[in-house]
């Protein structure tokens, strides 16, 4: 290696180092974890909760770990560039936290076999690439039980984002929970066709309440629908994080994403060399899905909700236990059987009894 090449290499290393410092990294430690977020950490939902998980690593591992994050990274070519940069700057554990990062993560993982990658909500794995997601539908079943008990008009309003399996699974699970305690409940579903537009999400909630809904459920990311529920004097559920501050009189509970323990466990695994590639789909039992404190409901409903959540956590009960029929009346899950994960991950049909058409 001649002198000028050494010089150039050193300059490049220095430049990359400067970039890394610009992103808020500290000195290299045993574990150096990088995070890629799809939204701003101030979205008070999805990316916000991932960032709380990142902070948990720093709090738990202390000096043995340092972390870096890059927020609002578009899914696509930009993501590959960001992930590559993290891998080149000495990060040995990289979390990519949106479905759309799947292909870029896989590509970069191939080029950096010594770096461990963790991709949220995807399905492509490699020796140095794990996947993880949470079974939010378990929380939605518990919410359904509460809604079935609490509704007076027997109409539940549901603000959906996009008709993808994750959301459809949530609606099905919620309604099975509601019908388990109150067979007369009906659901009205409005698709906002956005994950994030507070004004539009709020308008959708207003439309549903105007049509008689007295429980508001949402699968969009802003607190607006819950806030509308608060202002209109009806009840509702928080999404992704505890939104009690926005709706002290309306929030019954919230289905909280809790990545903390998973992130800490994975960082520790890297630190002691036990990290292995695997697929994790954690539910209430692993703490990944957490129910915010039960509020604004009588004690018996609270007790029922706690009991339901405990049964799901212990594995005694699975929300998708047959018989389950789809809207056409076809038997999808036989009596006594449990829907397998493949069916859950690809769910594109409503269960029997939901009076709405699934947009295709």
């Amino acid at each position: 290696m001649n002198a000028s090449l050494v010089k150039r290499t050193l300059a490049a290393v220095a430049a990359v180092g400067a970039l890394a410092t610009g992103m808020g990294a500290a000195q290299a430690e045993d574990v150096k974890a990088g995070f890629v977020y799809v939204g701003p950490i101030g979205d008070h939902g999805w990316s916000y909760r991932h960032d709380i998980g990142r902070q948990a690593i720093e709090a738990e591992l202390g000096d043995a770990a340092s972390t870096t994050f890059v927020e609002s990274v578009p899914e696509g070519a930009d993501a590959e560039r960001v992930i590559t940069q993290l891998a080149q700057t000495g990060h040995n554990l990289i979390f990519t936290t949106s479905f759309g990062y799947m292909n870029p993560t896989e590509k970069v993982a191939k080029r950096f076999p010594n770096v461990k990658f963790e991709h949220a909500t995807g399905y492509k794995r490699a020796d140095n690439l794990s996947t993880y997601a949470a079974r939010f539908y378990e929380g939605r079943y518990v919410a359904g039980v509460i809604a079935g008990k609490m509704t007076k008009s027997n109409i539940v309003g549901y603000v959906g984002s996009f008709p993808i399996p994750e959301v459809v699974r949530g609606i099905n699970s919620f309604m099975m929970g509601a019908w388990s305690v109150n067979p007369d409940v009906q659901v009205k579903i409005v698709w906002a066709n956005t994950w994030y537009d507070p004004g539009k999400e709020g308008d959708a909630a207003k439309a549903l309440i105007d049509q008689g809904a007295d429980i508001m459920v949402q699968h969009t990311d802003s607190p607006a629908p819950l806030q509308v529920a608060e202002n209109r004097g009806v009840l509702g559920f928080g999404q992704a994080s505890d939104m009690i501050k926005f709706a002290p009189k309306a929030q019954l509970t919230a289905i909280v994403d809790n990545w903390d323990s998973y992130y800490v466990a994975r960082a520790k695994a890297v630190a002691d060399g036990t990290w292995e590639s695997k697929d994790t789909w954690g539910g209430i039992d692993t703490g990944m899905v957490e129910m915010a404190p039960y509020t604004n409901m009588p004690d018996d409903v609270k007790a029922l909700a706690e009991e339901t959540a405990a049964k799901i956590a212990s594995g005694e009960f699975h929300p998708f236990t047959g018989p389950i029929y789809d809207q056409a009346g076809e038997l999808r899950v036989a009596e006594g059987e449990i829907a397998d994960d493949g069916m859950l991950l690809g769910m594109d049909w409503y269960i029997k009894g939901i009076d709405a058409e699934l947009p295709k």
Partner: protein
């Protein structure tokens, strides 16, 4: 028919931010300045209004601060395009991008704060009249202000001498300059008015529509306001019609979904935009009419010499 009242109330709240921002932009454009930074000015207005209200507890202070913030944003634009004669389209786009980032930076400390929404007007007896009462006499004051602003703008453009001067500056800046009007000063004022109204539109979003701060909460409403000005062919009356039509269709599609009307929801979400495009096509088929109202010098830089 009991759904009429809540339905109308929702339409009004969905239309008001658009109307506020668009009426300011209408005056800006009438003076010959095209400011594409409405979205950015609204966002900065939204976070300023929210931050000041949350810290001081006074919504009035918050609204005033939002107006000032929107005006300051438009002053950046005015200085760059009118004094330094930068390209208006590029500067406007830059202003929007700046506003998105700047509001997110300032707002990072205000995520998750909750405030009380603006109080609605309540006149004992009158506000309780069925249907008319809550619709006409039960709004918060920004709604009334948006209507008053449009009436004021109409009067200003059609009846006042100052309005004539503004239109002269927008239609032929050289002629206006030749007979002694300060084109740059008038354009500065018109641009600042546009910024103030955009700030107010933003404050309506963060203080009344959804009383909270969330990054990028305008979600494209600034662009819709810009489209509405063209849609209205720069006429205040049509601006009200356009803003309310937009609000009506976007709320109607949500109601139709809830009522189980089986139309693809993606199509419904597209409807308000489709309607805007269709009306634009219809209007632009009559070129004479557009030329009658469109400011002839829009987007052009003015140099005082010659």
């Amino acid at each position: 028919m009991e759904w009429i009242v809540p339905f109308t109330l929702t339409v009004i709240t969905a239309s008001t931010p658009l109307l506020l921002a668009a009426s300011g932009e209408l005056i800006t454009e009438k003076s010959g300045v095209l400011n594409l930074g409405v979205e950015g000015m609204m966002l900065v207005g939204a976070i300023t209004g929210f931050a000041v209200t949350a810290s001081s507890g006074s919504a009035v202070l918050g609204i005033l601060a939002a107006v000032v913030a929107g005006t300051l944003m438009s002053l950046i634009f005015a200085f760059l395009t009118l004094t330094l004669m930068a390209n208006q389209v590029a500067t406007g786009l830059a202003l929007t991008i700046f506003g998105v980032g700047f509001s997110a930076l300032v707002g990072s400390g205000f995520v998750g704060f909750a405030i009380d929404p603006l109080p609605a007007l309540s006149i004992p007896g009158i506000s309780a009249i069925p249907i008319i009462g809550p619709i006409l006499f039960g709004q918060d004051f920004l709604v009334y202000l948006s209507i008053a602003a449009v009436i004021g703008i109409w009067w200003f453009l059609v009846k006042s001498r100052a309005g004539l001067i503004l239109k002269a500056v927008g239609d032929s800046h050289h002629s206006a300059h030749a007979i002694g009007y300060s084109v740059i000063k008038i354009r500065y004022l018109a641009t600042m008015f546009g910024g103030a109204m955009a700030g107010l539109g933003g404050a309506y979003l963060s203080l009344s529509y959804t009383p909270m701060w969330a990054e990028n909460m305008t979600a494209g409403r600034g662009w819709i306001a810009l489209a509405l000005v063209v849609f209205a062919t720069w006429r205040p009356g049509r601006l009200v019609a356009g803003a309310y039509m937009f609000g009506l269709i976007s709320v109607m599609q949500l109601h139709a979904q809830g009522a189980g009307i089986h139309v693809p929801s993606q199509f419904m979400s597209m409807l308000p935009y489709l309607a805007t495009v269709i009306v634009l096509v219809i209007i632009s088929s009559d070129r004479a009419k557009i030329r009658l109202n469109a400011p002839a010098c829009i987007g052009q830089a003015f140099r005082a010499a010659q």
